[in-house]
């Protein structure tokens, strides 16, 4: 881990050095552009579909709405994928399996919470004894898609927003941009919490 941190710090130093030289900025932006293009336009997804939203996820992948044109194909194996789309209610019995599959995904990885149940527990928030109220209780969610179930167009919009978030990242971490949330923040909300996820 410490070696990894040293490497990362090294990249930041190199990046700063490049910025100071003339023409160095072009190299950095080109590297970032290549990384964004490679990652953002081929986000292979792991469909963690448990309930009703899984049907809409399937419908979104098929010929009418066609996920493939965004570069996303569903792969059942977590080790081949970049994005885990959690579609459907996660129960306490299912949560360890989801967490284990998330851990098996290689970095860089992102998570989309699709549907009200994955966002917050949804319609199953009250009176249940076996539902995890929102998948962000144990996974770091990047994009929340609300809806019960969300339309396939909403899901595709979610992938496009994730692509914007991926493009904000950079090979050197100090140059990573913040993504503005879509909804206006309340004035007393802490800036860091709402800025990360839309």
């Amino acid at each position: 881990m410490e070696e990894g941190c040293a490497e990362v710090a090294g990249i930041d130093d190199v990046a700063r050095a490049l910025e100071r030289t003339s023409g160095g900025g072009v190299i950095l932006t080109s590297l970032d552009a290549i990384q964004d293009w490679a990652r953002g336009y081929s986000l292979w997804m792991m469909p963690m579909g448990t309930a009703c939203c899984a049907i809409e996820l399937i419908a979104a992948s098929f010929s009418r709405f066609d996920f493939d044109r965004h570069g996303s194909i569903p792969r059942p194996d977590p080790r081949h994928t970049d994005v885990m789309i959690v579609a459907g209610t996660i129960c306490t019995r299912m949560a360890p399996a989801v967490k284990r599959l998330w851990d098996q995904m290689p970095d860089p990885k992102w998570c989309i919470a699709m549907g009200n149940c994955a966002v917050s527990g949804g319609i199953f928030y009250y009176d249940t004894y076996s539902v995890v109220r929102g998948v962000d209780q144990f996974l770091p969610v990047d994009v929340y898609i609300t809806g019960c179930p969300p339309r396939p167009e909403s899901l595709q919009d979610g992938i496009l927003r994730l692509r914007e978030k991926v493009r904000a990242e950079s090979a050197s971490p100090s140059r990573t941009r913040e993504i503005e949330g879509v909804l206006p923040l309340p004035s007393d909300a802490p800036r860091g919490e709402a800025g990360e996820s839309e």
């Binding site: 019995r93 928030y125 009250y126 009176d127 249940t128 004894y129 076996s130």
Partner: protein, 153 residues
């Protein structure tokens, strides 16, 4: 056979159960005490009730009421059988030997209510993990994880 003939037959066979047989919406409802459940089930099976559709329980405070829904397909007859077991000793005979479909239904009732079915080949929890404590569908089930829905009425 139609429902009135069934009622007459059961009244001749079990005269003390006859006042417990009622006809609602064209379906017969037979209420039996829990110790006579076995013989009633066997005789109904011999009569032609070959399909056990549903088996469930209701928590009435001091007692659990078990509701069985039987069907005789050839005769186009449906019948409810109800029996009660006390809350302190919720034991009842299993009907898995008569209708194998009762296997999973009885496991579910055991899981959610805690009623023990004697003679069941494999009585384990089915919907909840095996190490879950408590039986959720009982009315006195307490769980700190439950958030009660506010009464908006």
């Amino acid at each position: 056979m139609n429902i009135t003939e069934l009622r007459e037959y059961l009244c001749t066979q079990y005269p003390d159960l006859c006042p417990l047989f009622s006809i609602e919406f064209g379906d017969g409802v037979l209420t039996v005490p829990s110790d006579r459940l076995g013989e009633a089930m066997c005789s109904l099976k011999d009569l032609g009730f070959d399909f056990l559709g549903m088996l469930t329980a209701v928590d009435y405070g001091d007692e659990f009421e078990l509701v069985y829904r039987l069907r005789a397909r050839e005769m186009h007859l449906g019948l409810f059988l109800k029996t009660r077991v006390p809350r302190e000793a919720p034991h009842i005979r299993s009907v898995t030997a008569l209708w194998p479909s009762a296997n999973w239904h009885e496991r579910e009732v055991f899981d959610l209510f805690g009623i023990v079915f004697d003679g069941h080949p494999d009585l384990r929890r089915i919907l909840l993990p095996d190490d879950w404590v408590g039986h959720p569908l009982r009315k006195d089930y307490e769980d700190p994880n439950i958030i009660r829905r506010p009464d908006y009425l």
